[in-house]
């Protein structure tokens, strides 16, 4: 190929034309870029400004401090203590599994921690929000984590306030506890108006006072307007609304009395409720056995929880408010007063007690409780006082038959049986104050005269909780006038109301009350009193009534027990109601000792311990 001659002029013009076209294209493309910038920066400016602010400005909720709970003498029952928790920001962890493995080599992390961590991680959260793995780190844990920090990217140790119950298991059922908000709580909050108040709060009252007064204790969260960077780290605080701490509660509960009851119960199952007669304030409310509420705050490990849950002793059950027992003979003072009020008996009327009772015209013998030991009954001239002092069943069989169900029911109702009268006790049961309709409905059977006879001695269909017995005893000690039974004395210093929508007991004279007080005093001090063992060595006088409830029970779960243990659990429950001092009642008490057999021997000393503690406290206060 011969080398062609280039025509420089022609080529130059060609390239010049091409460059000109290119220049036009370049200007067009530059215009596109400028147009784009104008579009974004002018026409879409507001949208992107808002988006940029949303990026950098966050509302960080500031959790309020939960309200403190004090007993009536100002001792802290629930407080907030600083603690450290371990949290992970999954977005910043290169390999989550490796990090978790590494962490479990450094500190003790169990299956439960991991399980709840997984659950929290998968539920909704903002990106870069830390997920709690373990709470209440020990100093040792913190030190170990600190040393290993360089190898633990995305792992944080955070300081927070955690709930603490200094008296531990003494107040478990009554005070309750807070725990991490779970799905069920979530539903509860979602229905509540105050769901917005739970931002930034991980804990909620689960049972007891913590649950009942949740709204007061919670407080209102504050907000911090903060500028954060892309990693969620706070760069500066732009503004702040301080959180409003929860209200503090002062309870009627008295740690000294609670401790006295706790100590007196020793390791027995049962319940104690003590109420201040003047105010209706619940001074002590104990259910045994009990559990340390502090375990739940950090998240109770399955290794501790499962044995407790499966235990025959059912430590989680609040026997004081939810244990429905036959009140047995502790019902006699109330039935007796009802009998007098409706005119079915008088204090002067006597009966002959051959040791059993027969409904007129019927063969069946209703035996007195003494039948097992002696066959002669309580004598030929038993009056109402004797029937209370000696707990004469035959007198009450007769009285019940005469009174009829309706009279008994309405007076028991007036004393608060079969319903909830306590204002702020968590989830109490109503017990059963039976009626004809009730039996028809639940058993499909008519009410038989024999049912009335059983009811007369607190057996059969009637059940009551220790709380109800204590309330009824309080009303008795107040000579029939009602006061609201409640745990909270004041909320942030504002006293709680003591009114209650219950009519006072009608149809009884001062003499009737005096005589019943006297009869109940003689239960403890009389020669034939069923609780005379408890009366020794007292500087004051108490009035009481024993009861022995047979365990007809469904002893399910006891099949595997050895015969001795099985026999132990079939023993009767011992009950005792009392108030003291007789001449000026201050405290009313109900005690039940499961399988305690004798109200006088097992339950009455517990009541005495409660009175001693209360009166000792009063003396100290007056000195």
């Amino acid at each position: 190929m011969s080398a062609p001659m280039n025509d420089p002029e022609r080529e130059s013009r060609l390239i010049q034309r091409r460059v000109s076209v290119a220049l036009v294209v370049v200007f067009l493309m530059a215009s596109v870029l400028i147009a784009r910038a104008v579009y974004l920066q002018h026409f879409q400016h507001e949208k992107f400004s808002a988006r940029s602010d949303a990026n950098r400005i966050q509302l960080e909720p500031l959790a309020p401090t939960r309200g403190l709970i004090y007993d009536r003498k100002g001792r802290l029952l629930a407080e907030n203590i600083p603690s450290h928790s371990l949290a992970i920001v999954p977005e910043r962890v290169p390999d989550l599994d490796a990090t978790l493995t590494r962490l479990s080599e450094i500190i003790d992390i169990d299956e439960d921690d991991l399980e709840s961590f997984e659950r929290r991680r998968k539920s909704y959260r903002r990106p870069f929000e830390p997920v709690a793995l373990k709470t209440r780190l020990s100093d040792d844990d913190i030190a170990k984590l600190w040393v290993n920090a360089p190898f633990l990217q995305g792992v944080e140790v955070r300081a927070e306030l955690s709930r603490s119950y200094p008296y531990g298991q003494m107040f478990y059922h009554t005070l309750g506890y807070v725990g991490r908000i779970n799905e069920r709580d979530q539903e509860r909050i979602a229905n509540a108006e105050r769901n917005a108040d739970y931002v930034g709060t991980d804990f909620i009252g689960k049972i007891g006072i913590e649950r009942v007064y949740e709204d007061e204790l919670l407080g209102k969260p504050g907000y911090q307007q903060v500028e954060t960077n892309a990693h969620g780290r706070i760069i500066k605080v732009l503004g702040e609304t301080a959180p409003i701490p929860g209200k503090s509660l002062e309870l009627f509960l008295d740690t000294d009395i609670q401790k006295a009851a706790y100590d007196a119960m020793q390791d027995r199952r049962g319940a104690v409720v003590a109420i201040e007669v003047e105010t209706g304030g619940i001074l002590s409310m104990l259910s045994m056995p009990t559990v340390d509420p502090n375990l739940f705050v950090a998240g109770i490990p399955a290794s501790i929880f499962n044995p407790l849950r499966d235990s025959l002793d059912r430590p989680f059950t609040d026997r004081a408010a939810r244990g429905a027992y036959p009140p047995a003979s502790t019902l006699k003072p109330f039935i007796g007063l009802a009998g007098v009020a409706v005119g079915a008996t008088t204090w002067e009327r006597t009966i002959n007690d051959p040791g059993f009772y027969q409904i007129p015209g019927e063969e069946r013998r209703w035996r007195d409780w003494t039948w097992a030991t002696r066959r002669d009954g309580h004598g030929s001239r038993v009056d109402l006082a004797d029937a209370v002092i000696e707990s004469c069943d035959v007198y009450y069989y007769d009285l019940a038959f005469k009174m009829k169900l309706e009279n008994m029911h309405s007076y028991l109702d007036a004393f608060g049986f079969g319903q909830t009268t306590a204002v702020d006790v968590f989830s109490p049961v109503d017990g059963i104050n039976p009626t004809r309709a009730w039996k028809e409905e639940t058993r499909g059977l008519p009410w038989f005269p024999g049912d009335s006879i059983n009811l007369g001695i607190g057996q059969g269909y009637i059940t009551a909780t220790p709380l109800q017995l204590a309330v009824a005893t309080t009303v008795l000690a107040r000579r029939g006038s009602w006061v609201a039974p409640r745990l909270a004395k004041s909320i942030d210093g504002v006293p709680t109301p003591s009114e209650i929508d219950m009519p006072d007991i009608e149809g009884l004279t001062e003499r009737d009350w005096d005589l019943m007080f006297k009869a109940m005093e003689d239960v403890v001090y009389g020669a034939k009193g069923t609780a005379r063992a408890a009366g020794f060595g007292m500087t004051y006088k108490m009035a009481g009534k024993t009861g022995t409830a047979q365990v007809i029970s469904r002893l399910t779960g006891t099949e595997g027990l050895d015969p001795e243990e099985r026999e132990e659990r079939q023993k009767s429950h011992a009950l005792f109601i009392a108030f003291a001092p007789v001449e000026d009642p201050k405290v009313a008490v109900a005690v039940i000792v499961e399988n305690g057999e004798s109200g006088g021997r097992a339950a009455a000393p517990v009541a005495k311990a409660v009175f001693d503690a209360y009166l000792a406290g009063e003396e100290r206060a007056s000195e």
């Binding site: 025509d7 290119a22 920066q41």
Partner: protein, 374 residues
């Protein structure tokens, strides 16, 4: 003045007379001034984008100094030297590219780097200059406009490095290198019919590219462009954040070093590929327009040099390099402002990073050589 310089030099040469006023070094002062302005503007933005990092700014300044030295050196040689020896660069680049799959170093899943005599570099950088040099030399062997066969030959020469780089994979760079070669062919006078034909062919090839050539992550980037909200925390994040930065900057910006998107790390790659968003956020539309004016002035000067080149080789080279330079600008800003898919192309003279910038400056050196030898 230029004309007189030119004729004087021509006369000197023709007459064989001694050069009377031989300047020590030859410089296109206007181009130099514009580049320096752009570099200064770049450093100014980098200082903010790097979080007031003196380290980054001084390092970048040193690289710029190296680049300026490169410009001055390359500007002294006659374009004929490049026409004669340019193919060497092209061949060396192709050989090195061919070696990448065997001895390349993998970074982030692509093999782009190679290490020679202790130096780590991307052979594709050589091709950014090597390709237009080669094509310009190849086409100017013959009369312009080139024959169909020559165009075909040139396209083959373009295709070789393009495909090799596409394999790394580095779609962005391969397309830009293809563009730099094609610009030469276009400037050389490839007929409009052929251009239309190839454009149609390219359009037809798009689905094939999509199905057989493009990798999954490349497709994802294209999809993200059309709907960034589809994956706001994943591949859409970059583009959402950069558009937010640009848009929130408004007409006069949030103020120097006060861009919340950039300073609070919401903007990814704010020092490098996405630095335009920092500028747009902090200096607003004003800053954007200033930048565009600087770029366009450089383009104008480049085209002026191209038009006034002494021979067709110089003209093609200067014109193609100028267009390539502008394509970098367009692709980068287009990507950052959300009208082009995300490809790893830095903003010329502003993005932090040495290799690409030095290559660009060497390109200016070639343009200046054309400018100096009219």
């Amino acid at each position: 003045m230029h004309q007189s310089d030119f004729s004087r030099q021509l006369n000197d040469r023709l007459s064989g007379a001694p050069v009377v006023r031989q300047r020590l070094i030859k410089v296109d002062w206007l181009l130099m001034f514009l580049i320096a302005m752009l570099c200064g503007y770049g450093l100014f933005i980098l200082y903010s984008a790097s979080g007031q990092s003196f380290f980054h700014v001084s390092r970048q300044a040193v690289r710029m100094a190296v680049g300026f030295a490169g410009i001055l050196v390359l500007a002294q040689f006659d374009p004929r030297t490049y026409k004669r020896w340019g193919w060497l660069g092209y061949i060396a680049g192709v050989v090195l590219l061919a070696m990448v799959p065997f001895m390349g170093i993998s970074v982030n899943g692509s093999q782009r780097w190679i290490e020679l005599a202790g130096f780590r570099f991307q052979p594709s950088e050589i091709m950014k200059l090597g390709t237009p040099l080669m094509i310009a030399a190849f086409l100017t062997r013959k009369e312009l406009p080139p024959s169909f066969m020559n165009i075909f030959g040139a396209l083959v020469l373009v295709a070789i490095p393009t495909l090799l780089i596409q394999q790394q994979p580095d779609l962005g760079t391969s397309l830009l290198i293809a563009a730099s070669g094609i610009f030469v062919i276009y400037l050389a006078g490839m007929s409009w019919w052929l251009i239309a034909g190839f454009a149609g062919l390219a359009a037809a090839a798009m689905p094939i590219m999509w199905l057989f050539v493009m990798r999954e992550y490349q497709k994802q980037r294209v999809l993200t462009l059309f709907n960034p909200e589809s994956d706001p925390l994943g591949s859409g994040w970059n583009i959402i954040q950069s558009m937010t930065a640009i848009g929130s900057g408004g007409l006069d910006g949030k103020g120097y070093m006060l861009g919340t998107q950039s300073q609070l790390d919401f903007l990814p790659e704010s020092r490098t590929d996405f630095i335009f968003a920092v500028l747009a956020e902090e200096l607003g539309l004003t800053g954007v327009v200033i930048l565009m004016i600087l770029y366009l002035l450089i383009v104008l000067r480049g085209f002026y040099i191209a038009v006034h080149g002494r021979d067709s080789f110089g003209r093609l080279l200067a014109g193609a390099l100028t267009l390539t330079f502008f394509i970098y600008v367009f692709v980068n800003i287009g990507m950052v402002s959300g009208i082009l898919p995300v490809v790893g192309v830095p903003l010329p003279m502003v993005s932090y990073g040495g290799t690409a910038m030095v290559t660009l400056m060497l390109g200016f050196g070639l343009m200046m050589s054309v400018s100096n030898h009219r």
